[in-house]
């Protein structure tokens, strides 16, 4: 296997007494799409700016393409960045923006023109070279920002929430476009986002970041189906969160009950003792819904509830219901078949889920009862 | 700022302006506006005058050229009394009509020294009317720091050993002084414009050659006094009492009457054409020519009053200094400025400009 394009080794950054990036280590394979996913303020931008060279780490080392980047200025790193607000140069035309980096490298005028022309073509902006930046739409600007960086053929392209400023529709569209661009160029992307769906759709690997550390690092599938921490379970994808105490443990399966007395079962992470505080997560789509007990598989415990509201969202529709006795809120995805789309609020309903597909973690210190 | 607020502000200013104008008008006869030289109107005299007459003196400091220019700009309005030099009255009067004739019946002529009154009458009469009365006089000469420098005449200011250590005023008296020092009599050429112009060109050339010797051209009294006190300037063309003032502080500094003779200047009282308080002006003239007041003024200003009978009242030290510098023979040799015929000042102006611009 070739050397990774990016290796971070115990990188630390402190602001006063606040640790923004806390001894982070990870590596990114050549040609892969790596995302860093985390809530706002968790230190993503700080990490990215250390990779780009705008701030120096307080500890640890960053290597790009096998070279340590200690004391290498941003303009000398084989890295380019797409800024959160794009930072296109308003005093230049689109073409000049794309040529900017080439000119700084001393590439001749004719070569520059040709390369920028080619690059604009590849991002679908062939006729825009002479336009002013503010004549472009949001999506077009996005592409110029990427073209401006990619034309330099960097080892690594850093993107800081590049879709954050776009409206939803365009964001969905650009998501796909980004993925295609990355595949077409084969450049290694390091992508920052607080939007888990962007991270899941785009990435080969995702690091889920919280308080300056990675909670879990893996493929989107691993994060989704096998979250290793309650934070990841709560942050990646939708999840029902149930907080309670361990009643009993049977092999891998824990029986727990909430303070109000609702009992469920879930697969164990770690080894909680009986009576320990835990939190369990059940994915909405892991549940089976029925109007009568007969419709449910027999091997799983049956739960009952009443419909509170129907959350219609096309293929992502779900029903929000209240557990029969404890009135604990619970969300279940509706089958794609359109079955149950006629549920009415107040209607009685039954459901069940495979405890193997529910996850139970020791409760986090300071975690409250809020559902994630 | 919004447009509404701008308008409001303008309205307020106009209102304020008119209020001031109205109130200014109301107090005219109780106010005497004098435009004069620095120190010429001592505060103590102003206070005593107000006590006696109820008239408040409002003073504006100026010099010959500014006085004339200001009065010209307003066609002689804005002041009730001006104090230009006697040689600078008929010329501007002919051109700009900025003064009104003196009504001699309102003046106590007996208070004036007859000789000075005579010079002023000769030099400031135009079309049979007299436009000024004498106020203060003095002479220009050399002030020298005798311990560190030697100078007996104006041309000595150009000696190499005084390089960068001398000063003059870049005005017409300097041209006259240098002309006399070069052995010429500029006043004799007043009526011969061509010869006068040639003489001025010579004087200008002399001053240009001498320019590196001048530290600065002084523009006001304090600038020169400070220069001499600090030792930056060792010799300068200066008026007599300024030299005596410095002499009292430092005996090394002495006023010297140049070998080519002292130049006598004489400043006057003149009435601006559109002055509003002539009665006040005459009252002031008569008041300041009283021997005891005139003596006070002489003491305060350091120049000699044109009033009679101040002798016994004068400061003995000043009298001694005067007597030492001006024995009778020297007094007789004082060159008094005659009135300037039209056109000459233009010639002098060009010469002065050339000196200023030369390197």
């Amino acid at each position: 296997m070739s050397t990774p394009d990016l290796v971070a080794d115990a990188v630390v950054k402190r602001f006063a007494d606040h640790v923004a990036v806390d001894a982070l280590s990870f590596s990114v394979e050549r040609g892969s799409f790596f995302s860093i996913l985390g809530p706002s303020g968790c230190g993503k931008t700080t990490l990215l700016r250390m990779i780009a060279g705008f701030i120096a780490p307080d500890g640890g080392d960053i290597a790009i393409g096998g070279q340590s980047m200690r004391n290498v200025a941003p303009n000398r790193r084989p890295v380019n960045m797409v800024f959160q607000q794009l930072a296109l140069f308003p005093m230049m035309s689109v073409g000049e923006n794309v040529e900017f980096g080439l000119a700084r490298r001393g590439v001749g005028r004719a070569d520059r023109k040709r390369k920028s022309q080619e690059m604009l073509e590849r991002v679908g902006l062939s006729g825009a070279a002479h336009k002013r930046v503010d004549e472009l739409s949001g999506g077009q600007r996005q592409r110029v920002a990427i073209a401006r960086s990619l034309v330099l053929e960097p080892t690594l392209l850093l993107l800081d929430e590049p879709l954050g400023a776009l409206d939803l529709k365009l964001r969905e569209h650009m998501k796909i476009e980004l993925k295609q661009l990355q595949a077409a160029f084969g450049t290694t992307f390091v992508y920052i986002t607080h939007d888990q769906s962007e991270a899941l759709v785009l990435s080969d690997h995702v690091g889920v970041m919280n308080h300056g550390r990675f909670e879990q690092l893996g493929t989107p599938q691993e994060l989704y189906y096998r979250p290793q921490t309650p934070f990841v379970a709560g942050f990646v994808g939708a999840n029902n969160r149930i907080v309670g105490k361990v009643d009993s443990i049977n092999g891998e399966i824990v029986a727990l009950s909430t303070a109000s007395g609702w009992s469920i079962r879930a697969r164990r992470h770690g080894s909680p003792a009986a009576g320990a505080a835990v939190e369990a997560f059940v994915r909405p789509e892991a549940c089976i819904l029925g109007r009568s007990v007969a419709e449910l598989p027999q091997e799983f415990p049956v739960q009952a509830g009443a419909v509170q509201s129907l959350l219609f969202d096309g293929a992502n529709s779900s029903v929000l219901l209240l557990e029969e006795r404890t009135r604990h809120e619970f969300r279940i995805a509706l089958p794609q078949t359109g079955q149950f789309s006629d549920l009415k609020p107040g209607e009685k309903i039954v459901f069940s889920f495979d405890p193997e597909r529910a996850a139970c973690f020791p409760a986090r210190a300071g975690a409250d009862g809020r559902s994630a | 700022m919004t447009k509404g607020r701008t308008l409001k502000r303008i309205a307020i200013w106009i209102w304020l302006g008119s209020v001031c104008a109205v109130s200014a008008h109301a107090a005219d006869s109780q106010k005497l506006r004098i435009i004069s030289w620095a120190d010429y109107v001592p505060a103590e005299v102003v206070a005593a005058f107000k006590k006696e007459t109820g008239i408040t003196v409002e003073l504006t400091l100026s010099n010959n050229e500014e006085m004339i220019s200001k009065l010209r700009a307003t066609h002689g309005a804005g002041y009730d009394l001006a104090q230009p030099s006697q040689d600078r009255i008929t010329g501007p009067q002919r051109d700009f009509g900025i003064y009104k004739p003196i009504d001699l019946s309102k003046v106590k002529l007996g208070q004036f020294q007859l000789g000075l009154l005579d010079i002023v009458r000769r030099n400031t009469t135009l079309n049979g009317q007299q436009y000024a009365l004498p106020y203060l006089w003095g002479t220009d000469g050399l002030v020298v720091n005798t311990k560190r420098a030697k100078a007996a005449d104006y041309l000595d200011l150009c000696k190499p050993d005084l390089a960068g250590k001398t000063s003059i005023r870049l005005r017409r008296p300097t041209l006259m002084a240098f002309a006399f020092a070069m052995g010429k009599d500029p006043f004799a050429l007043y009526s011969d414009t061509k010869a006068y112009s040639a003489l001025m060109d010579q004087v200008g050339a002399k001053l240009i050659a001498c320019k590196p010797n001048f530290k600065f051209f002084y523009d006001n009294k304090d600038q020169l006094l400070n220069g001499i006190r600090s030792g930056e300037v060792l010799a300068a063309m200066m008026w007599d009492t300024g030299g005596w003032t410095l002499n009292r502080e430092n005996p090394d500094i002495q006023f010297i009457v140049p070998k080519s003779g002292a130049l006598g200047w004489l400043d006057t009282y003149a009435l601006p054409a559109r002055g509003r308080n002539d009665a006040g002006a005459y009252a002031w003239i008569n008041y300041t020519m009283r021997p005891e007041i005139a003596a006070k003024i002489t003491k305060s200003v350091g120049s000699f009053s044109a009033a009679q009978n101040t002798g016994p009242l004068l400061d003995p030290k000043l009298k001694a200094q005067f007597a030492a510098a001006f024995p009778d023979s020297v007094v007789k040799a004082i060159h008094w400025y005659p009135s300037i015929p039209p056109g000459l000042e233009e010639i002098e102006g060009k010469v002065l400009d050339r000196v200023k611009a030369a390197n």
């Binding site: 941003p74 | 030792g231 000042e345």
Partner: protein
């Protein structure tokens, strides 16, 4: 129809004070001066119209010399002001933050709380032969005798730069503050060096501010009277001084008015040339400040 007529009347009424103001304080005096500059005195209170005043200017090398000298010195001092003000503006706008930045700005402002006369006299006290700086140099053994720093062109330049500082600083700071830091970082990230960032990003962005500052400073410098005359002393040779002399000392209003118009023409021409060089339009520049 009627409402439009009304609107126009309202507009006229609203503009009337401003137009009166403009007319009374700017246009009328200039018209008066223009007429004045076009006549010649032939005798006491007798004048004929003539171009003699302008002819004098062109025929007398003396006036020419001072005119050109004033223009050149003004340009040079404007450039110096820009060179000095730019780094300070950069520090205020980009390097210091919050209080420190306002503090530096205020420190630069403080000298302008006293009048220009007092400021210039302050310089004179420092620089005159018997002043603070020459004494210090002697004490330090750098010069054997006190050196006279006044009455030199360099001193005039120093005073002019100092006096104009604020008027350069304000437009520069405001235009640099509006420069998004991420543009600088982006350029740096794309491989640009400090110098090329300055050339390709910062200066183009700040161009309106630079142009505005230069125009204001140039006009102020050209029209300055106190600083060159006080600091330049016998060698000041500033054109405004020439105008003052003509008006006040020589009573030659006609010549003074002609000189005034020549100076007005010069400043207009220089501003046009400056704008052309900077590729800016006057209106844009003034809006940006």
């Amino acid at each position: 129809m009627q409402t439009r007529w009304h609107a126009r009347l309202m507009l006229a009424l609203l503009l009337a004070p401003a137009l009166l103001w403009l007319g009374a304080l700017i246009i009328l005096p200039h018209l008066d001066l223009a007429l004045l500059s076009l006549r010649q005195r032939t005798g006491p209170q007798q004048y004929v119209s003539s171009l003699a005043q302008y002819r004098t200017f062109f025929h007398e090398p003396l006036y020419w010399h001072v005119f050109v000298r004033t223009a050149v010195m003004s340009v040079v001092s404007t450039l110096f002001t820009l060179l000095v003000a730019f780094p300070i503006a950069w520090i205020i706008a980009k390097i210091l933050q919050g209080r420190a930045s306002s503090l530096l700005f205020i420190v630069c402002l403080v000298p302008f709380w006293v009048s220009e006369t007092v400021r210039t006299l302050g310089w004179m006290i420092l620089l005159r032969e018997s002043g603070v700086l020459p004494a210090l140099l002697v004490k330090l053994g750098l010069t054997a005798v006190p050196v006279e720093f006044l009455y030199r062109d360099a001193t005039i330049m120093l005073g002019l730069v100092y006096t104009s500082m604020l008027f350069m600083l304000v437009p520069l700071v405001s235009s640099l503050e509006s420069l998004d830091n991420s543009l600088i970082e982006a350029a740096y990230d794309l491989g640009a060096s400090g110098a090329s960032i300055l050339r390709t990003i910062v200066i183009p962005h700040a161009a309106p501010g630079i142009t505005a500052g230069c125009i204001i400073v140039f006009m102020l410098t050209l029209g300055n009277y106190l600083t060159p005359t006080l600091l330049g002393g016998k060698n000041s040779e500033w054109f405004t001084e020439q105008i003052y002399t003509q008006f006040i000392t020589r009573f030659n209003w006609e010549q003074g008015a002609a000189f005034g118009f020549l100076l007005l023409g010069l400043s207009t021409a220089m501003v046009m040339i400056g704008l052309r060089l900077a590729g800016q339009r006057f209106g844009d520049v003034m809006r940006r400040t």
